[in-house]
Each structure stands twice: as structure tokens, then as C-alpha cells.
């Protein structure tokens, strides 16, 4: 059988202005990496058409072992408390090569 192990996928949708902050956060919390997709969308803060620098969203994905989840959520809550607009949700995934996800990002 395959070496599948449980992990947590954190998905963060926000303005791309916050990209560097999120990457720094991920490094600090010892995640093994991150993936970003350029996005557009709409929410309580109006439409983000992605046509101008300032109204472009990113979808930010981080897969972490369960035990690392809480720390990241703390930081995200911190940003939200600072009034940044983040849409955050967590899903259960099964990762191939679990070891890979426990090596912190250099």
C-alpha cells in the first residue's frame, strides 16, 4: 500500500499585498513549503477583480502535520485581529511521503 498519512491543508484567501507576510509566517512556523495561486473574487470587502495591483487576491495553501496547525492559526488570527481580511479554512488530507511535510522550509 501507499505511504499515505493524515495532514492538514490550510487555505488562506486574501489580498496579494500580504503575500510576503504569509510566507514569513510559514517559515517561522516550520512548515515545509507553501503554494500560491493568483485569484480574484468577491466578499464583504467588495470585488477583487485582479485587474489592478491592489485588487488582486491570492489563494495560499500550506500543508502541515496536525501538530503544527494550531501555531499557524494563531498567527492568522493575529492578522485578522489587526483587521486584515483573511478567508481561512482547514481541510483534512492524506499526504504522500509524510516525512516531506515535517522538514521545515530552509
Amino acid at each position: 500500500m501507499h505511504n499515505l498519512a493524515p495532514g492538514k491543508l490550510i487555505t488562506i484567501i486574501t489580498t496579494d499585498v500580504l503575500e510576503d507576510r504569509l510566507v514569513a509566517m510559514v517559515r517561522k512556523r516550520g512548515a515545509s513549503g507553501y503554494t500560491i495561486q493568483r485569484s480574484r473574487g468577491g466578499g464583504s470587502h467588495g470585488e477583487q477583480s485582479g485587474m489592478l495591483d491592489v485588487d488582486t487576491n491570492i489563494t495560499f495553501h500550506v500543508v502541515v502535520p496536525e501538530e503544527r496547525l494550531s501555531g499557524l492559526l494563531d498567527d492568522l488570527q493575529g492578522l485578522i485581529n489587526k483587521r486584515y481580511h483573511l478567508t481561512v479554512f482547514v481541510s483534512d488530507v492524506s499526504v504522500l511521503r509524510p516525512d516531506k511535510f515535517s522538514e521545515p522550509l530552509a
Binding site: H45, G46, S49, G50, M51, D53, V54, D55, N81, K82
Partner: protein
């Protein structure tokens, strides 16, 4: 009359076309990076062009222009901030974020003004270009100062976030001051000016077809897209409310008047140059400042400052402002 006929130039007409395309709900969707690519070209072209001319002109006068650009960049947001608090329609954080936009400048408006003067056969100095490059940074810094000051004012009320206290603030401080000075468009514009100024004689000629001849065409495409964006934003003016809309119309007049005074009295520029300084004072940034405010003043609502800068002030300046500032510059000069 002539003012009106001067509006019948491709640059302005494409802005109107873009605006119209959105109003009639055309399904036209431009590539996401088009505006960004066009503005990169425009900043580089205007920078090389201006730098080349500055290289052959009086540095004392240039320094003087820089000095006044800084003064305008710092001063206008303070006026705007006071005005906004006076309206009692937005809290301090939003006031700070909005005000910062009016200290900075809109390259699109500035270039439209140049197209306008060209078609009217009015000549102008190259100093305003360097002011265009300089004014972004102070505006961002003032916005930052006003915001953190306001934050302290509100501190009592707004204690949700301890970490946004000194520590956080100080960090933000450094990042923002840094951002103000290394802002992408500032680097691109200033850098191109330096290159235009120091490139060895002869090597610039080769660039002329790229930076001069196709310039107007690229500007038209850029203004077409900006027209679409302006129309997208103007729809939200209801959210913003009549008073704020009023601010978006009055503030450019104030900034324009001050700019014209500076251009004529302090810098002693020609009618064309004075008009351009007026436009610098009147226009509000929608490229450099909004992302900076979004990062530094999360408490402010982006749709406020974007609607005002892009949806209200920008079209106002393009259609009404530019001819008006040109008219005033002519009056003051004579």
C-alpha cells in the same frame, strides 16, 4: 471651446470609450496583466525622456523642483486629512488612508495632461516629471504617520489587538518607510530618469522610437483600461456617500490651485509646466499608494480610497480638471 476641442484627442477619447464599455456592460475583459505592463512601459518611457532632458538642464532648478515636490507630498495629505475629519463621514483611519492618496500623484492623469498640452501646442519644462517621481514617497510616509497617530488616538476604543501596539507598530514603521522609498514605481521612474541622464550620448537616439513614437498609442490603451476601471469604481459611489464624493471633487481643486501657485510662483515655470504641477497637486495616486495603505492601514476600507481616487477624482481631472488647470495657469501667468 478650444478647451473642449482639446479633449477630442485619442488619449481622452479612449478613456471615455473604456468608461462607456463598462457602462453599457460590454463583456470585454482585458488580460489581467495588461494595465501593469502598459504602466511599466509608460513609467520607463517618461522616465528616460525626462531624465534625458534633465541631464541637459539646470540642476539647481531641478533640486528646487524636488524640494517643492516633497513639500507638496507632505502638505496635501495633511489638508486632506483635516478636511475629511471635518466632514465627520469617515473615521480617522480611513481619513489617513484616503488623504495619503491625494499627496501622491496619478501618472495616468499626468500623461493625459501632457497629451492635452501637446495637442494644444503648449510647451512645458521637464521638471514636473521628476516631481512626479518624488511625490509618491512622502505621501506614503505621511499616510503612515497619520495612521499610526490616529491609531494611538483610537487606542482606548480599539483594544482588540495588543500586538498592533508599539512592537508591531515599530516593525510596520520600518517596513513602510522602506516601502515608501523602494516602492516599485518610484524605483522604475527614478531609475529610468537616471539612465536617461547618464547614458552616453548617442545611445539614447536608438531608444527614441521606443520611448517617443509609440508612446501615445500605448497611453491610449492604458487610458482605455483605466476608463473601464474608473467606471467599475464609480458605481460604488453610493457606498461612499455624497459628502465623500464631494471631497473627491473639491480636494483636486485645492491641490490643483496649490500646485499651480507652486509651479508659477515658487518654480517660475511656463504655462505648460505650471499646468503640469497643478495636475500633480490635483491628482490622486491609484498605483503606488493603495497597496501601501492596504498593507499599513488594514483598518481602512479599500473601496473608500479606490472609489475616490479612481472613480471620482481621476475622471474629474481628465475631463474637467486638466482644461481648468491649464486655464488657471494661463490666467496667473498673464
Amino acid at each position: 471651446m478650444s478647451a473642449l476641442s482639446n479633449l477630442l484627442i485619442p488619449a481622452v477619447l479612449f478613456f471615455a470609450l473604456g468608461f462607456l464599455a463598462r457602462v453599457i456592460k460590454s463583456d470585454l475583459r482585458l488580460p489581467q496583466d495588461l494595465a501593469k505592463m502598459l504602466s511599466i512601459y509608460l513609467l520607463v518611457a517618461i522616465g528616460l525622456h525626462g531624465g534625458y532632458q534633465l541631464g541637459q538642464s539646470d540642476l539647481g532648478a531641478a533640486f528646487n523642483a524636488v524640494l517643492w515636490a516633497v513639500i507638496l507630498g507632505f502638505g496635501l495629505p495633511l489638508i486632506g486629512y483635516a478636511l475629511l475629519l471635518f466632514t465627520r463621514r469617515v473615521d480617522r483611519m480611513n481619513a489617513a488612508a484616503i488623504a495619503a492618496h491625494y499627496g501622491s500623484v496619478s501618472a495616468g492623469t499626468f500623461l493625459t495632461a501632457i497629451a492635452y498640452l501637446d495637442s494644444a501646442g503648449v510647451s512645458y519644462e521637464s521638471y514636473p516629471v521628476i516631481m512626479l517621481a518624488v511625490m509618491e514617497s512622502p505621501a506614503i510616509i505621511v499616510g503612515l504617520l497619520l495612521a499610526s497617530w490616529s491609531r494611538r488616538q483610537l487606542a482606548g476604543a480599539d483594544e482588540v489587538d495588543p500586538s498592533s501596539g508599539n512592537g508591531g507598530a515599530r516593525r510596520q514603521w520600518k517596513t513602510l518607510a522602506h516601502e515608501a522609498l523602494t516602492n516599485g514605481s518610484v524605483v522604475l521612474l527614478l531609475g529610468s530618469m537616471v539612465i536617461g541622464a547618464i547614458s552616453r550620448p548617442g545611445s539614447m537616439e536608438k531608444l527614441s522610437p521606443f520611448i517617443d513614437e509609440i508612446f501615445m498609442g500605448v497611453l491610449c490603451l492604458f487610458l482605455f483600461e483605466m476608463g473601464m476601471e474608473a467606471a467599475r469604481r464609480i458605481r460604488e459611489f453610493r457606498k461612499v456617500g455624497p459628502v465623500l464624493v464631494g471631497f473627491g471633487l473639491v480636494m483636486p481643486l485645492i491641490g490643483g490651485a496649490i500646485g499651480i501657485a507652486v509651479g508659477h510662483l515658487a518654480l517660475g515655470l511656463s504655462i505648460g509646466g505650471t499646468t503640469l504641477v497643478g495636475v500633480l497637486g490635483a491628482s490622486a495616486s491609484y498605483i503606488a499608494v493603495p497597496p501601501a495603505m492596504r498593507l499599513a492601514v488594514p483598518e481602512a476600507n479599500p473601496s473608500f480610497y479606490l472609489t475616490l481616487a479612481l472613480g471620482i477624482t481621476f475622471p474629474f481631472n481628465v475631463v474637467v480638471g486638466i482644461p481648468l488647470y491649464h486655464h488657471l495657469a494661463t490666467l496667473i501667468a498673464t
